[in-house]
């Protein structure tokens, strides 16, 4: 589904990824583990098309990234993101944050998705009016609304307590069971319980 070959990346003079080659197959739950600074977030950003690698190739369904005609549309239709700090837009309500991510055809599904995630009553509230756990569930709803083929989550439970972390992982696992590929970068070993493949990163390399 997504494949990177000999990918390296630099931030200034610092090399943070060293010739990485990975393939993620459809329907997998991939756990990208490693300590802080090991390069897992950078690799996740490259895999999710949010960052162009300094060198190497990213193939999506056997097509190079440069061959994708409309990358924005591709992201909207195929990829969902969950970040550690939820990154909701503070001047939009819960409903509007999710609506921003989806096309008109999916707007009708927002309420049922919110209900499914147990946060329907929050739909008219703003991000600063809800708890951290609720925000992360909204972020998850935003990632799921377009029924993406793949979800990337970077430390999705980094700012949550264990109860909320469990809810998030269960929701991601449920998405996987519904046919969505899930890639989670985290140093939380709890993810391993849900993963079908674990990749451990150390100093910018996969061990």
């Amino acid at each position: 589904m997504i494949k990177v070959s000999n990918v390296s990346h630099f931030y200034g003079d610092e090399k943070v990824l060293h010739d990485i080659s990975v393939e993620i197959k459809e329907g997998e739950f991939v756990f990208l583990s490693g300590d802080s600074g090991s390069g897992k977030s950078t690799l996740l950003s490259i895999l999710s098309t949010l960052l162009k690698p300094s060198s190497g190739e990213l193939l999506v369904n056997s097509s190079s990234l440069n061959e994708i005609e409309n990358l924005d549309k591709f992201r909207q239709e195929n990829i969902g993101f969950v970040f550690q700090f939820h990154y909701l837009i503070n001047y939009l309500s819960v409903y509007e944050n999710i609506a921003l991510a989806c096309g008109n055809e999916n707007k009708k599904d927002i309420k049922s998705l919110l209900e499914d995630l147990g946060i329907l009553e929050l739909s008219s509230r703003y991000p600063n009016e809800i708890s951290g756990g609720q925000r992360q569930r909204v972020a998850l709803a935003r990632a799921l609304i377009n029924k993406p083929k793949i979800i990337f989550a970077d430390e999705p439970t980094g700012s949550l307590d264990s109860k909320n972390s469990k809810i998030v992982y269960e929701l991601l696992e449920r998405a996987m069971k519904n046919g969505t590929t899930v890639v989670v970068a985290s140093h939380d070993m709890q993810v391993k319980e849900h993963a079908t493949q674990t990749l451990r990163m150390v100093d910018g390399k996969i061990q």
Binding site: L50, L51, D72, K73, R75, F81, F85, I89, Y91, L92
Partner: protein, 357 residues
């Protein structure tokens, strides 16, 4: 509409941008309006009461010009001349006021000053402008080394005249040691103006005769005021517009995280630019309208501020208002859209990280 949401949900930030643009636009308006107003008042003073102006030859400033008043008799006898009057303009301490305009004029021009109370001045008397009258409460006033009786007060269409004193031309002549600063002539048939100019010029070798229109265009003091005001206005304009552009660019840079999130969610660069365009347009247009209303209020109140004695006046032309409108919107868009365009080309994750740092 996201643009309106973004503005209304960040009231502090929106108020800050709104205030910055309003202040910048007001500075542009007030500086250029006051400059235009000064020139406008002088022009109005000369233009409204005559078609031809006679000054001393070789003296480009009416304050220093000295024309022999006896020439008026010959001028009045010319064909197609309907009337003429002479004036002495000067400046002197008036009572406790360190400096005020003194207008000495022939009797036939006194009615130019609208009597508010009392009567027009006779020999040894002065008529006080409405503004200066508020500061002089006595019945007599010392001007130069002579004391004058106050005969009444007047108002005028020319703002700064209300900060001055009117007296008959003989008294002013003694005060400033001259016959007349200039003579203004009205003609009965406007198409004969050039002909009459030539005829008057032949009457006396020591005078310079011009149409009031050409005099205003060539008058040295107007040129100095005009050029100075042009430089000051241009600087205010440039500073104001740079201020608007830099405020907008700072705001856009502070929203990189938001743009990064939008790009990560699959929103196009055009979507971001379009929303920012409307946000900037709403903000700059409303700030412009507010600044225009405030500026007009300030300009309207200027003639009533006693301290200014009516000398500072402003007039805002439609051309200036439209020019400032176009420039404000252009600079606001330039200041917001260029950084937004640059930001939108950056990888989404870098935008998010830059926004967080």
């Amino acid at each position: 509409m996201i643009a309106l949401k973004a503005l209304s949900k960040n009231p502090f930030k929106s108020t800050l941008i709104f205030s910055s643009i309003t202040i910048a636009v007001m500075a542009i308006f007030l500086i250029s309006s006051v400059s235009q107003g000064v020139i406008g008042m002088y022009s109005k003073m000369i233009k409204t009461d005559g078609d031809i102006i006679i000054t001393q030859k070789g003296i480009s400033d009416t304050f220093f010009s000295n024309v022999d008043i006896s020439i008026m008799e010959k001028i009045n006898s010319l064909k197609n001349v309907s009337s003429s009057y002479a004036m002495i303009v000067g400046a002197s301490p008036v009572g406790h006021i360190p400096i005020a305009g003194i207008y000495g004029t022939t009797k036939n021009h006194l009615s130019h000053y609208k009597l508010s109370n009392g009567e027009y001045p006779k020999k040894g008397q002065v008529l006080l402008g409405k503004t200066i009258a508020k500061q002089i409460k006595s019945r007599t006033v010392k001007i130069g080394n002579k004391r004058f009786k106050i005969s009444g007060t007047y108002s005028s269409d020319v703002g700064f005249e209300e900060g001055g004193v009117v007296m008959n031309i003989e008294d002013a002549g003694k005060l400033f040691s001259r016959s007349a600063s200039f003579i203004l002539v009205s003609v009965s048939s406007p198409n004969m103006t050039d002909e009459i100019v030539k005829e008057i010029a032949l009457l006396n070798d020591d005078v310079e005769v011009k149409t009031t229109k050409s005099f205003i265009e060539e008058y040295n003091q107007f040129k100095i005021i005009e050029n100075s005001s042009l430089v000051i206005s241009a600087l205010a304009f440039a500073m104001g517009l740079m201020g608007i552009a830099s405020v907008m660019s700072m705001i856009v840079n502070s929203r990189k995280e938001e743009f990064g999130i939008m790009r990560a969610l699959g929103k196009s660069r055009l979507f971001i630019i379009k929303n920012l365009f409307f946000e900037t347009l709403i903000m700059s247009l409303s700030a412009y309208i507010f600044a225009l209303i405030l500026s007009l209020s300030v300009l309207a109140s200027l003639p009533h501020i006693e301290m200014l004695q009516g000398y500072v006046n402003g007039s805002l032309s439609l051309t200036t208002a439209l020019y400032v409108l176009a420039s404000t919107i252009f600079m606001a868009l330039l200041g917001s859209l260029i950084p937004a365009w640059i930001a939108s080309k950056t990888d989404p994750i870098l935008l998010i990280n830059q926004g967080c740092s």
